[in-house]
């Protein structure tokens, strides 16, 4: 099927950080349409019907999420999650740096739909330039009357604050993000209550991902039906719309690609130039470091929420990491273990202790000190770590090693049986 980029249209051709350029490309038309010709509830309805699934990883329908906000007179907030830090993922960065007005427009429409007067963009600290670009976009939009008091004379007010994080992966978890935004340690909160009920400053709060928000202006502009038709797998109506894929690892052209949701894993790899000559496909992680492994038997899995889930993994952030036959999956395991151990907030016992235990275990295995007992320990982490903590970082940390055991037991076995030359200490 012929697919025209939606969210990344113009990137690499024109400078969309310039508000004139953005408007020339049809920017802020969605905002005009929503604010001047639609009722807030109609906007919510449109997004609901478009079946816009959250792009941050969980895939929860955005319109449904909006519907959870209680109407009890408390202030409401919209928080946009730009704390992109899932290893292997960099599609939000592209949207933030190259098309910030699309985000601003999406925020205003979402805020209008949910009668929210103040929004926050929580951007990871390392993306300082991105924060500056967003602040500039907000200021430019304000100068045009798209942000601030009485937008387009409709009486709708909207302030947008850009808030920088400071280096903590866990702040991408939505309740940790709220804590961080409130000036606390970025530790996830116990749920329930969910942010929709008790969120930022104890008020009802919507948290949407950058990419989710970026879709909003287009849905309003083109209608929900248009959005639902964008799919490479029309057999699955549950997933639709354009999706940014970050394809990295052992492919010829690692990078960001905007694709219709639902292509097969094989096709996605081909988009990025395919494997390097002479190499064979060994495994892939379809949705960042937190997603369980897929093997060669999964090459025809459809890259949509349902297809990947059915294969035992998850679409996550659609960060596809491809491993060919040269990659030692046990070594990859150590990277992930180190990463989760360093990024665990440390609140919950299983995560704090388990992540570091995994790190030490894989480190020792790679140095030749592994035993059969380690295999049992790693396997036990599926029940000891996954599903036992406040947030899912612990689950994420356990997914890769347990899927490694399941799909590629021989990889670990080679170390345990000392069949493989070990790396120096």
């Amino acid at each position: 099927m012929q697919f025209e980029p939606v969210l990344t249209k113009g990137i690499g051709e024109v400078d969309l950080t310039n508000i004139d350029v953005y408007e020339a490309q049809g920017g802020y038309q969605g905002l005009r349409k929503a604010l001047t010709s639609m009722e807030p509830l109609a906007v919510v309805d449109e997004v609901k019907k478009a079946n816009l699934r959250g792009r941050g990883g969980a895939g929860f329908p955005a319109g449904v999420k909006w519907g959870f906000l209680p109407n009890d007179g408390r202030a409401r907030y919209l928080t946009v999650n730009a704390d992109e830090s899932e290893p292997g993922t960099c599609n939000n960065r592209t949207l933030i740096f190259a098309n910030p007005h699309q985000i601003v427009e999406g925020i205003i429409i979402a805020a209008f739909a949910n009668r929210i007067a103040q929004s926050f963009i929580y951007i990871r600290g390392e993306m300082k330039r991105g924060a500056g670009l967003l602040e500039k976009a907000v200021a430019d939009a304000k100068a045009r009357g798209y942000v601030g008091k009485n937008i387009l004379g409709t009486g709708f007010d909207q302030e947008i604050t850009v808030h920088r994080g400071a280096g903590a992966y866990i702040c991408g978890e939505e309740s940790a993000l709220l804590n961080s935004l409130e000036g606390r340690r970025g530790e996830p909160r116990v749920k329930p209550p969910f942010p929709a009920v008790v969120g930022l400053y104890g008020c009802p709060t919507i948290i949407n991902n950058i990419e989710t928000i970026s879709c909003i202006p287009h849905i309003i502009n083109n209608g929900w039906e248009w959005f639902t038709k964008i799919s490479a797998n029309p057999e699955n109506p549950k997933s639709c719309g354009p999706k940014l894929f970050t394809i990295s690892g052992c492919v010829q052209k690692p990078g960001n690609y905007e694709l219709p949701i639902g292509m097969s894993l094989r096709e996605v790899i081909e988009v990025a130039g395919g494997l390097k000559p002479g190499r064979t496909f060994k495994a892939a992680q379809p949705g960042g470091s937190s997603s369980p492994l897929l093997g060669p038997q999964h090459l025809d899995v459809r890259m949509d929420f349902e297809g990947v889930a059915a294969a035992g993994s998850m679409l996550g952030t659609a960060a596809v990491m491809v491993y060919d036959d040269t990659v030692d999956l046990v070594e990859v395991a150590l990277y992930w273990a180190k990463f989760y151990s360093a990024e665990s907030c440390g609140q919950c016992t299983p995560c704090r202790e388990g992540t570091f235990w995994l790190e030490r275990t894989f480190d020792r295995i790679l140095q030749g000190g592994g035993t059969a007992k380690d295999v049992k320990i790693i396997g036990d982490m599926r029940t000891q770590m996954a599903g036992t903590t406040i947030c899912v970082l612990s689950d994420a940390a356990a997914f890769y090693p347990t899927s490694l055991l399941k799909l590629f037991p021989e990889e670990l076995d080679r170390y345990i049986k000392k069949l493989k030359e070990v790396r120096p200490a």
Binding site: E126, E182, E359
Partner: protein, 205 residues
Amino acid sequence: MSHEITKTIAIREIEPPTWPERCKDEVAAILARYPEEREMSAILPLLHLSMRERDGHYVAVSDMAAIAEICGVSTAYVDSVCSFYAMFHRHPVGKYVITICGNMGCHLLQGGKALVEHIQQTLGIAGGETTPDGLVTLEITGECLAACDLGPVIQVNTEYVAKVNAAKWDALLDALKSGKGPEGYLEKLPLMGGACQDDWKGFPE
């Protein structure tokens, strides 16, 4: 692999910092971004600000105390928050903080391993250290820098430098040493399909 965990002791400065007065307007603007009585939200922005304003770009106890005062919390509370985030340095760092992505994609699959070794060799320091002349602090982070399309990637004071190899690093280091600065090497706007500025220079400054 170390099993010793020691505490980072924040530096105590006797004199209160001058930024609360010098940057009065900026502090007020930061506070104005958040709803009333939610001054605590300003803790992270103020930590960023105080770090920018202090020689050595770190947060001292006196900065934490000043922030605590502004935000209506205890100094210890600010310290607890500060210590949670990797970007808040509690000891002086070099003029340029070079952060190398040590995550799997860049490090294992895109040649980062060799690059880290090269960088350490040319600087004569290991990760976590600062060159004796105070020019560069090297950090090797396990946290993915969200630029897997540009690996191996590094950051120079939170600005990306893409697809770094030994030659590109050497040139960058020369620019830093000569005082020219990193400007020419920084990635301005991201592109699709893994392209970077080296491949395409279509954007105006």
